[in-house]
Symmetry: C2
DNA sequence: AAGTCATGTGACTAAAAAGTCATATTTTTT
DNA sequence: AAAAAATATGACTTTTTAGTCACATGACTT
């Protein structure tokens, strides 16, 4: 947690520092990100930085929390009306909300994306603590509910499918980040929406040809 | 490319150096990997290293090539009998061969995995050159053939599905690397084989309940 | 006005990195 | 055996990093 001196700072100065840090961490991995560059960009002294934050990790963790909180805001509406909607509608809405978060919070997404893909297990443990990022635990619950309701094939392996679905959500995010490299923001939702639709369709129905008898034996 | 002085080295010395390097790059990202540590482990002088390799990148590229060549050896049998087998058999065999490569080349897999997940686009370009890692280009061809043969639903988006399938193969590798953290090698194939089977089944059939009429309208 | 406490500062330290180079040793050629 | 070419060496340079610390400045209290 940042020190009180940081929270007591005038709003403008706080955001100046955070923006400089978000910029640096979105361009560089945790290891390569430089405190020196951040303080230069934010126009504060190196010593001041250490009045505000314990160390580099303290700053990074704080920024990651901002990103997580922000993303939750996007997912909240879907989570709230989950009860009254079927599995595939909820899944579709989650994917779409995820895309919207990335669109409107490009740098924060990059930071989170980097951390998740990072092989620095030590760092990940320090950030996630013991509460591992079980977004797929949530998907598991969703799948189980879908099975109960008769929407989902009960013979699936819930654990495996939840991992697959989590991974596919990263696929979408990555796809978006790659096409919009360097922050070129197009307002062309249609491409991504089509992508989500096709992806959901594939998850629903599979890719094997139907109707005919493909005898497996 | 390493210099001739490297290739002229006695076999034992060469492997000593390569093993030290593979070890270092499997434990650290390209940026964090240290030439100093490699030369210490390999018991050669810093100056000697630069007689063998142009620089750090030269060494890393060489090791990545070793990994790619090695993996191809595992995939080759499947690719050779591709013509005579149906889509899902080929896909299954590719996934299984991928797992076997990871099992038997733990460190090399980690290095390749790290590079693919890396956000250092500059590095990736230098390694992959213009020939981007189009393992999914190959999957596209495979899918198109499957459609022609009447095995695959022709209404799918070939491009998207190939990305999904490529991603799922990473999911498997990651899953294996995570469960076998720190190189603990179990001979328990069954878990992974079951995982591949279930994954293929899901890709084939989707997860929506079949038989009933879920009217979408 | 004096004193106290919070905040601001940038030169500095220590550690680590990639890469260099003058010199020494070994191997090959004549 | 002598000369030449190839290879080996590790101290050194330069750069960059996170973090520290003695001191300066500002604000609030008595």
């Amino acid at each position: 947690m940042p020190k009180n001196t940081f929270f007591n700072l005038p709003e403008r100065k706080k955001t100046r520092i955070l923006n400089a840090a978000i910029d640096e961490f979105s361009k560089n991995s945790y290891e390569k990100a430089s405190i020196t560059r951040i303080v230069n960009t934010a126009n504060i002294a190196k010593g001041s930085f250490y009045q505000y934050f314990e160390n580099k990790l303290d700053l990074f963790r704080h920024i990651f929390m901002i990103s997580a909180d922000e993303k939750l805001k996007y997912l909240k509406p879907t989570l709230d009306k989950m009860e009254s909607e079927d599995f595939f509608t909820t899944l579709r809405n989650l994917y779409v909300a995820g895309i919207e978060f990335v669109k409107e919070n490009y740098k924060l997404s990059q930071i989170a994306d980097r951390l998740i893909k990072s092989n620095n297990e030590n760092l990940k443990n320090k950030i996630f603590g013991e509460t591992k990022p079980k977004s797929n635990h949530f998907l598991k619950e969703l799948l189980l509910r879908g099975i109960k309701r008769g929407e989902i094939d009960p013979s699936i392996d819930v654990e495996l499918v939840s991992v697959m679905l989590t991974n596919l959500s990263f696929t979408i995010t990555e796809y978006y980040l790659k096409t919009n490299e360097k922050g070129i923001v197009t307002d062309d939702y249609s491409d991504l929406m089509e992508m989500v639709e096709k992806m959901i369709y594939t998850i629903e129905n599979g890719i094997k040809i139907k109707g005919e008898d493909n005898n497996d034996y």
